[in-house]
Each structure stands twice: as C-alpha cells, then as structure tokens.
Symmetry: none
Subunit: 545 residues, 2 copies
C-alpha cells in the first residue's frame, strides 16, 4: 500500500521492471483531452488495477488542477500496487533550490516519488533555457540531491536525450551522470520530439551505456520515454528494453502530445506475451481490454477500433477466405489468444455478444443462467439489438442487470411515467430559466395515485432529475440518499451533426452502491431521462426498497 | 504511362525501391470500410499522385466490385507513375492452371502486374488448404510460370511467411525458391497475423537470405507486408528494409484488417526523411498531408488527429512551457519540418497558453500581434479566465478568432438575440415532441426588424439550430450552405452530477470553410446555443457575408 501523504524514511527502489504511466501528465497534453480532478482520480484507480508500477499524476504548482489532484489523492486514492509520482522541473537557473516555489510545490504534493525533467540537449540549455552548460548541471545536482535528502525517490527525465546525444554526447551523458551521482533512482532517456527510429535507439543506448560505464555510472537504472512521431513509439521502447533499460514510460491507449506517447497497453502485450517478460499476473493482463476501454470512457476518447490487443477490431475477421479455416483452428489466424488480454475473436458479420459472454456476465452479477439456454438466447438478441441502436452495456452494468431482471420477470416497478416536459429559455432580460414537469402514477396495488412535480434546475436534465425525485419522494424518501455523480454524453453517428443519436451514461452513488446506467435517443433530454429513471429504479431495488 | 489494358511483351521490372499500396484490397478488409468502384478509382488517382510504385486494385473474379474496378480502370484510370496490380491466389489444388477460373479472371483483369498469394506455412497448407506440401509447391510453380509466360509481372505474397519460417524454415524457404525459379519478380514476406516484433523480422530475414543464397536464389528481390497487431507495423517494415528488402507493402493511413496494415504515409516519411532514401520528389512528399486527408474523406475514415506526419495534431503544441522557446527556434521542438510533408506547426490555445503562444496562434490566423503587448496580455487573461469557466479553445479555433476579433473591435454582429426557448416533452400517448422558438432583432443600421421563428427537431439542440437558421435565412440566405457536421458534449466537473458544467464543441462546414466553435454553461442547451450561434457568426463573417 502506497502512502500518498509522503514518506518519512527514504523511499526504497521498486525492484524488477517498471511500467511508468504518464497518462495524467503527458497524456493530458493530447489535443482535446482535458481531465477534471475527479476524472484523474478515476483514471488513477484504473491504472492501479492495470498493474502499472508508477502513476505520474501531474505537475503540482504549475497546473492548479494538478495541485488539487495531489491534495485529494491523499484521502481519496488508495493504491494497491502503483506508486504515485509528481512531475516537475529542476530548480530555476541562478536560484537556490530551497527557495524555488516550483520545487516546494513538488515536495508539498507529498508523493513518494518525484519525477524531474531536466534539459539534456545543450542547444536547449542555451537556446530555450538561456543558461549555461555548467549551471544546468548544477540545477540537476542541486534539485536531485535536495529531494533525495528529503527522503523522496527521484526519477530523472532527460528531455530531448536522443537529439541531444546525437548533437553532443559528452554533455548529454554528463547530465545523466550528474543525476545519478546526486541519487536519482532512474535515468529516463526521452525522445521528446519523437523523431527516432528503433535502430537509432539501440545504437544510442549502447553508446551511452559504454560511456556511463567509463564514468563509473554503469550501475544506473535506465528508462525510456518515447513518442509516436515516426509511428515507432512502441518499437522504440522495445528497442530500448532489448538494449538493457528496465523502465518504460507511456500512456494508456497511446494518448499524448502530437502523435501520442508509447501505448502502454500495447507495450504490456508485447513485453509479456511476445517477449516473455513477467510484468503482471495473467489475470491482470486479462483485464486489459476492459480497463483500457473504461479509461477511454472517462477521458472521453474511446479506444480506436484498430488498437492492438484491445481494439474492437483487433481480433475481428471480415468473413470470406478465413472463415472456414478459423472454425477448424483459430490459432492459425490470430497472433495471440485474445482472451489473454480480455478481448475476443469476432467474426464481423456474426453477433458480438454471444450467449457465453452473457452467461459470464450474469454469473458476475450473481445470476446462474447456465441452465437457461433460451433465456440466454433472448438476452443475447436483445443486447445485440439495443447495441445496434446505440446502447452500450460495457460501462453500464446496472442497465444490463435491469434488462436481465426484466427477462426474469423480476424488474421492480416503482411507478409509471405518464409524461414529462423540460423547457429551457433565455428571456428578454438575459436570464436563463429551466424548468421541468414530471407526472407519475403509482404502481402500488389498489392505488391510482398521481404525482405531479415541478422543479427548476441549472439545465433541463438537472430540472428533470429534481422533478423526478420530488415525484418519487413521498412514497420512496430513500431517493434523496442517491446522488448522480457523473453524467457523460456521447454523440453517436457524428456525421449527422445536431441531428445525431445521443448516448448518456449516468453514474449514481448512494445507500452503499455505485453504479452506471445508460440511455439512448435522438434527444439528449430523452436519453438522459432514461438513464436517470433507470438509476432510481436500480438504486431503490438493489438497496432493498 | 502504364498501360492498364495488358502488355504484349513481358513486363519489365521497375528498378529502385518499391512502395506497394494495397489500400484497395487489404485496406478494404478494415471493419467499416466499404468502397464503391467509383471510390476505388478516386483513391487510385490519389495514390498515383502520392507517388507509390504499385497500386493493388483488388481481387478480380472473387469480388464482383473488383472485377468491375479493373474493367473500368482500363478506360477511366490514367496512371502517371504507378503500375496497377491485380491480386489473386495460386491455382486450386489438383487442377490445371489453364483451367482455373480464378486464375483466368486475374488474366482478364488486364493489369501488367499480378500479385499471387501463396501458402508458405506448412500448417496452413495441410490444415487450411488441406493439400500436400508438394502440391502446394507445384501450385506456386505452375501459376507463376503460366502468368509470366503470358507476359505478366508476378509478385508473390508468401502468406504467413514469418510464422511459417519459425515453424519450418526449410519448407517456407522452398516455397520462395519455387516462385523465384518460376520467374516471380518479387518475393513478399507477409506477417499475415501481425505478431512479429522488429528484431524478429531482422533475424528471420537474415536467416532466410543465407538460405536463399545457398539455394541459388540470392538474387531474388524481397518485399515485406506487415500488420500492426503488436503496434510495430511500420517498425517491422523498417527492420525489413534494413535487412535488405527493397519493396514494402502497406496502406495509406494504415487502413487494413484488424489493427491495420503498415501505414504507407508514415513509412514514406520515415524512409525518405529519416533514412535518407530518395523515394519520391520533395514536392510530391509535400503533398502527403493533403492526399492522405483526401483519401480519408473518400473512404469516410478521417485521418486520426494523432497520425504521424499528417495528423492534425502531429505538429501541434499545447504546453505553455514550450511556446516562448518555439518562437525562438521551432526546430528545437519538432522532429522534422512539417512543410516537408505539407503539414503545419500549430499552437493549441489552452489555459497553459501565455502571450507567446497567443501571438503565434494569431500569426497562424493571419493577425500580426507582435507589436501589441497590451492586447496580447488582455487576450491571454481572457483565455485563462474563460478556460477556467470551462471553455476550451484548443479544438475551437473559430471561437478563439471571434474572441480576438472582439478584442480588435472587428467582431461582426448579424443580429441580436432577444430570447429563445426549447422544450422537450414526453406526452401521455408516449410520443416525444421537441420544439424551439428563437427571437432575433436585426442589427442593420436604421432597422428594428424582429424575426420570430419556430421549429421542431429531433432534440432541443436540433430544434434550436433549425429555428435559428429560419430566423437568419431571410437576411442571410447563406446560412443554408452551412452544415453542422459534428457535435460533442463534455461534462466538466463531473462530481456535481446533473448539476455540472457542460462544454459543447460544434464542427461546421460550408462555403469552403471547416471550423469548430465552443459553448459552455450549466445547461447543455445554453452551451449548444452559444456554440451554434458562434458557428453562424463565424461562418458568415469568414465567407465574406
């Protein structure tokens, strides 16, 4: 268990190979990717599940959201495997490290590990940082020593390492040696501009290793941080591993600035399944597809269908030539067993959600459906049809369970919806008003009570939510114990512009539960209504009301 | 000029390095990618412009659309550089090649080049093809000899070459030797299942080359066909090139079955700009971005923003950290000059943006703000404040430009919004109705005309869009030339549930423009209204209305 409140004794090195994830920092540099603090905490939990060694959380002090992330992480983030790292830079040129507010913010973040970026390309030292070669070395030495002296583990990211090494290998090597001597636990070789090819990575690391040996730093642990600007981020990381590095940095789903960072998910597959490295337990690797997609949902950048190992098409075969042979021996047509990464072989014309996966899902939810082939077939058909309409049960277990309960005739009905209306309007005086009306009929036996409720809200969905609560409250006061915690909208079929289909996912917590529901429709209000109504139904039912 | 009607004398080998594109055949195996014959012809023209050596058009005889493609290509496709290839298989087991209808269809396609796929993994010969090792060799020899005898150039695709070689290198080599002896111009080593890593590719090709030398086939020209299942399609092709192959197969934009084929666009950049190979004239390479996107439009699979070299984000910078240094020397922060591939460096405006990045962004949009430090400061402050409220300008250049125009006092005002209203309601009969009302006042001098418009829509945003168009149409009929093409909703600050802030991004095209606008508010309707209203304002202004 990692203690995010900060160590009192020096942080011990993590043995073995390091998978270092920087989705929350470098990944957030991707165009269009912006994470709230809550998003970051949710992603961090999934990264921990994925089995990464380090989670880089952001740059405290420089980015206000990141400062808040590290504050909240102390109480809200319990990591079981991963160690949390705060990212920052070496001290300012010409200033004392103890007085540098950026360095102070790193210390205050309270993480066991601090990752420091340092210039290692002399042209950047003089051209961008506008300081001298010597001062840059002193900045590295001072900052690393200071933080190590405070008991922190320090990882040094040597920015522009490869370009710098090609330009002036002596200087670039001296930066690494300085960091090593000052106590850095890992020296990370960064291809910051992303222009390297795999054979160059090999050659440069071999050359560097010889130089480090000569400089008495042959025992330094090396890492690699690669980008995909030549389409070789993963291959460059593999080259580095084969050249002896034992720490790779990347981002889940290859998020990152420009063309992205090395895809950590692909790398895990390659290193473990192709190169035989023992990085995570097999049962953890089998969660990769699920976790990769869950993170894609949170950051609102779905996993591309073509993603290696975890993409929806990664093990999909367009019928024809292969179909009959695949039936004989699927291994002839796949490079690895998709179950190893939790994915499935799929024939594109056949249905996706087979009976087997529904049976497994049911078991996961506590229903034994093994002896009910007809029910499984009906459910598989329903799921297939609703997925075709735009529903996605992957991230909405509660809606799937309601579907299953419905098939079993156990679906609870707390009320019947008679009608609802939501209106937003901008008045002549510039004020924005939103109100909703909900009319329900009670379903209790022998009762024919109607409930009409009206509410104002920040927006139409909020107003509908409040009006629905109001209408349910008298008979089911427990509704007030639930809170809608997250609300995600995805436009499907984007080519139709504002005339598109909308999918809404709602995450609700309360009465000891936390669950997601889904709604779909041509109208964001209707889709939201469906997801919210399901959320109250599910919440009341599962908490025994 | 290639003659697509078929040669009368043996087709001469094309000297130099071969870029072989299979977008029209293997690329079409991608899930969701379906091309009409007209699409295929249009893609082929772009591929020719791109400077590829070969264009594989499809499988005549097996796919009716492909048969038609080759028929129409004879008259409708004038290629200036590329040679057209038809793809097919070796003859059936136990049949005469002259009587094989599949082979006859290949001949009838009338292309100078025929690419034959042959089994080269013994397990596939016996397990999938269900014939003998010897018969498979005879099928290769017979089919290659027959087609070469008809004056065609034959390229042999050795299917499952790498897996086969690892399983039984003797047999796999014997297939290649048989094809070479029968007159095949190129022996293509296919990683059909895509599971290889770069170092394996190198080792296997080196091993194969020694075996070919021994077998007296050391002069054979070798090619490589790689897939991206390990995220290494491009790197594997580069490994193969470094191991001596002189023909690479791939697809534009990395289209292809499962995870896709090697991205030929990325490969062209890597081979020419990083490895110094002289594949196409510099002015052709400078068309790469345009052609890659044009093909993406035709096949209706837009180039991903993260695509190396040609993606919209490939040379985009978000971090404020870099901006001031980029102003000094852009080459410090890019791996190659984006103009070499026809792309551009782009500053992404975010809350990390300082005055330097705003100045650069202004320059990109055609405004010289270098001499206006106060304006830059005001704009930087506005951007920071609005980003804190939830706006995001990184994907909304048009909204940023409106902000800038506003600071410059140049913002156009086409009308004043008096009020609007959007209502969604579910009636007792279960029907869903949505309508919107928009009231505008004209801003034209001396006019005080009011416009009141009402519209029904699929959802409140669609209804508002339609009502706004209706209200603007009479004075500005150009509004109908714009189409809202994409609509993205992001909930910020998710822990507030339905009481959260909403950000809407709208992509609009029309009148030769394509741009994005952003709106923010507690209400999805209000945020959408803002983004749509900005879209019409921007579109009308930029197109000179």
């Amino acid at each position: 268990m990692t203690d995010a409140t900060g160590p009192t004794t020096p942080t011990a090195e993590i043995p073995g190979f390091h998978l270092y994830d920087t989705t929350l920092r470098d990944g957030s540099q991707q165009e269009g990717l912006t994470l709230s603090v809550t998003d970051k905490l949710a992603v961090a939990r999934h990264l921990d599940e994925l089995g990464v060694t380090y989670i880089e959380g952001g740059w405290p002090g420089a980015v206000p959201r990141d400062t808040e992330f590290f504050q909240r992480a102390r109480t809200e983030l319990q990591l079981t495997h991963a160690r949390l790292a705060a990212f920052g830079a070496t001290r300012k040129a010409g200033a004392a490290v103890e007085e540098d507010p950026q360095v102070a913010a790193l210390v205050e973040a309270g993480t066991p590990t601090i990752t420091l970026v340092a210039k290692s390309d002399l042209r950047h030292v003089t051209g961008a940082l506008r300081t001298t070669a010597e001062e840059n070395l002193a900045m590295v030495t001072d900052t690393v020593s200071y933080l190590v002296g405070l008991g922190r583990e320090v990882i040094l990211d040597a920015e522009h390492f490869f370009d710098g090494f090609l330009h002036d290998p002596d200087y670039t090597t001296s930066v690494l040696v300085a960091a090593h001597e000052a106590g850095a636990a890992v020296l990370v070789l960064c291809d910051t501009n992303g222009g390297m090819l795999p054979h160059q990575v090999t050659e440069i690391i071999e050359n560097l290793s010889a130089r480090l040996e000569t400089a008495g730093a042959g025992d330094a642990r090396l890492g690699a941080h690669t980008h995909n600007d030549t389409g070789c981020a993963v291959a460059n990381a593999i080259s580095a591993v084969r050249a002896g590095i034992t720490h790779v940095q990347g981002c889940v789903n290859g998020y990152g600035e420009r063309t992205g960072n090395a895809d950590l998910v692909t790398l895990m597959g390659d290193l473990q399944l192709k190169m035989g490295m023992d990085l995570v337990p097999a049962e953890t690797l089998a969660e990769t597809t699920r976790i990769s997609h869950a993170i894609g949902e949170i950051v609102n950048m779905p996993v591309t269908t073509r993603a290696p190992y975890v993409g929806a098409s990664a093990f999909a075969h367009k019928a024809g030539l292969h179909a009959s042979a695949i039936r004989v021996d699927p291994d002839l047509y796949q490079h690895t067993d998709p179950r190893e990464v939790g994915n499935d072989m799929r024939m594109i014309i056949s249905d996706m959600a087979g009976r087997a996966s529904i049976e497994l899902k049911g078991r996961e939810l506590g229903f034994d459906l093994a002896g009910e082939p007809e029910l499984l077939s009906r459910l598989a058909a329903t799921v297939k049809q609703r997925e075709a309409e735009g529903y996605s049960y992957e991230a909405a277990d509660a809606s799937f369970e309601l579907l299953l309960l419905d098939e079993l005739g156990q679906v609870p009905s707390y009320s019947t919806v008679e009608s609802w209306r939501a209106t937003s309007q901008l008045g002549r005086d510039g004020t924005l008003e939103t109100e909703a009306t909900v009319k329900l009929r009670s379903d209790a036996e022998g009762e024919h009570e109607r409930k009409v409720a009206i509410a104002e809200g920040n927006g139409p969905v909020n107003a509908l939510d409040l009006a629905l609560r109001e209408a349910l409250r008298e008979r089911h006061p427990e509704v007030d114990e639930f809170e809608l915690r997250d609300f995600k909208v995805r436009i499907l079929d984007a080519h139709h512009g504002t005339d598109a289909t909308v999918r809404v996912l709602v995450r609700t917590s309360g009465r000891g539960l936390e669950f997601q529901t889904v709604g779909v429709g041509p109208n964001v209000i209707e889709a939201s209504w469906e997801a919210i109504y399901d959320a109250y139904t599910y919440g009341l039912y599962k908490s025994g009301v």
